[in-house]
C-alpha cells in the first residue's frame, strides 16, 4: 500500500507539471480567441447577419412589420423607376443626387482644406498648441449640435443675414437654407466645418512623420516650396489620404442627423440623403421593403467605391 502511495506522491509533481503547463500554454494560445469571440459573434450577428436580413426583407412585401414571404424585386423596380423621375423629382432621385453633390463636395473640400490648414500649421508657427485644438474642436460636437447651431446661424430671420441687416448692410442676401436648390450646400458647409479640423489633424500627424532630411535635400537641390509640397510631401502623404478618405466617405454616407437637425429635410424634402429616405420609408411610411432595398443599394454603392480603392492602395504598399 505504502509503495503505491509513494509512487503516487512521486508521480504527482511530474504529472501535474506537464499537463499544467500545457493547459496554461494552451489557454494562453486560445486567450486572444476567447477574448475576441464575443465581439466577433456580435459583429457577425449584428452587422453581417442583419445585412443578410435586410437583403432578405428587400425582396418581401414587408410594410409595417417584417413579412417573410418572398415576393420578388418589386421594391427595387420602384426605386429603379424613381431613379429617373427628375421632373418633378422623386424623393429617391433627390436623395441620390444630393448624395452625389454632398459626398463629392464634402470629401473634396475637407481634404483640401484639411491639407491646407495642416501645411500652414506645420510652418513651426507660434501658438500652434492653441490653434490646433481650436480647429479640432468641432469634431467633438455631435452632428445634432452642429446642425442646430448652423440652422440658427444660416436662418435669414435669425442669424447671419439678420445680423448684417442690423449692422446696415441691408442688401445682403443669403437664404440658401430656405431654398430648395441650394439647401444641400448648407449641409456641405456645416459638414465641412465640423470635419475639416479633424482631417487637418490627420494630415498634421502625417506631415510630422515625414523625414526632415528629405526636405532639406530637396531644398539644397533648389526645389521651391511649391515644388517641395507638390512633388515630395503630398505624394508621401498618400496613406493619410487613404485614411482620411475612408473616414470622410463613411461620415458622408451615414449623414442623417445633420440633415435632420439642420434642415428637417429641407423645403419639400429637397435636402434628403439616402439615409433619410431609408428611415422615412422604413419607419414613417411603413414601407419596410422599399426602405430595405434602399439600404441595400447604399451598401452596394459604398462597396463599389471603397473596395476597389482599398484594393489598389493596400496592394501597392508592400512594394
Amino acid at each position: 500500500m505504502s509503495t503505491v502511495a509513494e509512487t503516487k506522491i512521486k508521480l504527482t509533481p511530474e504529472h501535474n507539471a506537464r499537463p499544467g503547463a500545457s493547459v496554461r500554454s494552451r489557454l494562453q494560445d486560445a486567450l486572444p480567441k476567447i477574448v475576441l469571440a464575443p465581439s466577433f459573434a456580435a459583429t457577425v450577428i449584428f452587422v453581417y447577419g442583419f445585412i443578410l436580413w435586410t437583403i432578405y426583407l428587400s425582396f418581401t412585401n414587408s410594410k409595417t412589420f417584417p413579412s417573410y414571404a418572398i415576393t420578388g424585386p418589386r421594391a427595387y423596380q420602384r426605386l429603379w423607376r424613381w431613379t429617373f423621375e427628375s421632373d418633378p423629382p422623386s424623393s429617391w432621385y433627390t436623395s441620390i443626387t444630393n448624395m452625389g453633390i454632398f459626398g463629392f463636395l464634402y470629401i473634396f473640400i475637407c481634404l483640401a482644406l484639411g491639407l491646407f490648414l495642416a501645411i500652414l500649421l506645420d510652418q513651426k508657427i507660434r501658438g500652434e498648441g492653441v490653434l490646433r485644438p481650436i480647429y479640432l474642436y468641432p469634431m467633438a460636437l455631435s452632428f445634432i449640435v452642429t446642425g442646430v447651431a448652423w440652422k440658427w446661424f444660416l436662418d435669414p430671420g435669425l442669424g447671419l443675414e439678420q445680423t448684417l441687416h442690423q449692422w446696415g448692410w441691408t442688401s445682403f442676401h443669403f437664404d440658401w437654407i430656405k431654398n430648395k436648390d441650394f439647401v444641400i450646400y448648407t449641409v456641405v458647409i456645416a459638414g465641412v466645418w465640423q470635419a475639416s479640423g479633424f482631417i487637418m489633424a490627420m494630415f498634421l500627424a502625417g506631415l510630422r512623420g515625414i523625414d526632415g532630411e528629405i526636405m532639406k535635400a530637396a531644398q539644397i537641390d533648389g526645389a521651391t516650396t511649391f515644388q517641395l509640397y507638390r512633388r515630395i510631401v503630398i505624394p508621401l502623404l498618400r496613406p493619410v489620404f487613404l485614411s482620411a478618405f475612408i473616414v470622410l466617405a463613411h461620415l458622408a454616407i451615414k449623414s442623417y442627423d445633420l440633415v435632420v437637425a439642420l434642415t428637417s429635410g429641407g423645403p419639400g424634402g429637397s435636402a434628403w440623403l439616402p439615409s433619410n429616405f431609408m428611415y422615412e420609408f422604413t419607419f414613417k411610411r411603413n414601407e419596410m421593403a422599399v426602405g430595405s432595398a434602399s439600404a441595400v443599394i447604399m451598401l452596394m454603392t459604398i462597396t463599389a467605391i471603397i473596395v476597389p480603392y482599398l484594393y489598389s492602395e493596400l496592394r501597392e504598399r508592400p512594394r
Binding site: 412589420f65 430656405k178 411610411r285 411603413n286
Partner: protein, 417 residues
Amino acid sequence: MLRKLLIGTALASGFAFAAHAEDVKEVQMLHWWTSGGEAAALNVLKEDLSKEGFAWKDVPVAGGGGDAAMTALKAMVAAGNYPTASQMLGYTVLDYAAAGVMGDLTETAKKEGWDKSVPAALQKFSVYDGKWVAAPVNVHSVNWLWINKAVMDKIGGTEPKTFDDFVALLDKAKAAGVIPLALGGQNWQEATMFDSVVLSTGGPEFYKKAFNDLDEESLKSDTMKKSFDNLAKLVTFVDPNFSGRDWNLATAMVIKGDALVQVMGDWAKGEFNAAKKTPGTDFLCYRFPGTDGSVIYNSDMFGMFNVPDDRKAAQVALATATLSKSFQSAFNVVKGSVPARTDVPDTDFDACGKKGMADLKAANDGGTLFGSLAQGYGAPPAVANAYKDVVSKFVHGQIKTSDEAVTELVKAIDDAK
C-alpha cells in the same frame, strides 16, 4: 389557437422577469406628451389613476417625438414586451390590431356605453373586427383659422365666409404691412392646410371621396386642380422665410401680431392659452372659410395591448379613466381639443372649445365628420406621406403647375397603395 399560444409564449418570456405581484397595480404607458401643456393635461389622468391605487410608469423614449416613440413601440412589440397602452394615431392602431397584438376592451366598452357616445368616425380606428382595441382621448379638428384680433381690428376685417372673402382679407393685411398668413413650411403643416382648402373648394362629398375613399376620378378632377390653385394663392401670402418653420413659431407670429392668421389644428389654441390670451378678446377662432358645418378631425388614442391577465385590471382602469366624462372634460380643456365622446358637458370650455364641441356633434349627426389625410386619419401612413410629399413639393416649387400636381398626386397615391 396556435397564434394565441405563440403570443402567450412570447408574452410569458417577455415578462418573465417583470411578472411580480406588484406589477399588477401599475400602468406602463408609452407616449410623447412631454411638453408643458400636454404633460399637465396628462397629469390629470395620472392623478385619477393613483386615486384608484394604480401607479403610473412612463416607458422612456429616447428622442421625444412621435416618430421615435413609434420606433420604440415597434421594437417593444417585436420583442413581445408590450406596454399596457401606447399613444397612437389612426391607422397605426389598425396595423397593430391586424398583427394581432392588441387587447380586447369590448366588455368595458359595453359597460361604459362607448358605442353610443364615441363618434362613429372615431370608432373606425378604435374598434377592429368588432373588438375595442383603443380608447380615444380627444378629437382635434384641423379646419380652423386662428386670427389675432388686434390686427383684425386694425385692418377692419370681418369673418371670411368664403374662400374669396379669405383672399380679400389676406390682401387687406398685406396692404397694411403685416404678414397675412403664418405658415410653417414643413410638409405636414402644408398638407394640413391643404386638407381645409380641399374641403372648402370641393365641399364635404368631394373631400370624402378624394381623401377618405381615395377615389381616382376625384383625385384627378378639375376640382382638385382648383384646390391646388387655391393653395398656390394662399402661399403667395406667406413671408419669404417660412420654409422649415415649426408650427408653434408660426402660432407665435399670430400671438405677437406679426401675422394675421394661421390655418392650423386646434392644438394651436394651447399656445394661445399658454400666452395667457383669451378667445374673443385677444384672438378669434373661425372655421376655415367654406367649411362651416364640417369637421376634419384627427384624434389621439391610447392603444391597448394584449397584456397578460395579471395586468388586465390596470388596463381596464386606464381605459375607463381615459373615457370618463370628468377626465375628458378636464384633459381637453387644457389640451385645446374637444372630448372624444359627445355627451360631455361643455361648461368648463372656452368659446372656441364650445364651438368645437357643438361642431363635432353636428358633424357627427350630419355625416360630415372626416378624417384628416395629412394627420393620418384619411388613409394609411404610406398614402398620407405620399400626399404630404406632393403638397410640399407643390408649395416649394418642385412641382410647378396644378396639372402636374394632380398627376403626381394620383401617381404617388397609386404607388403607395
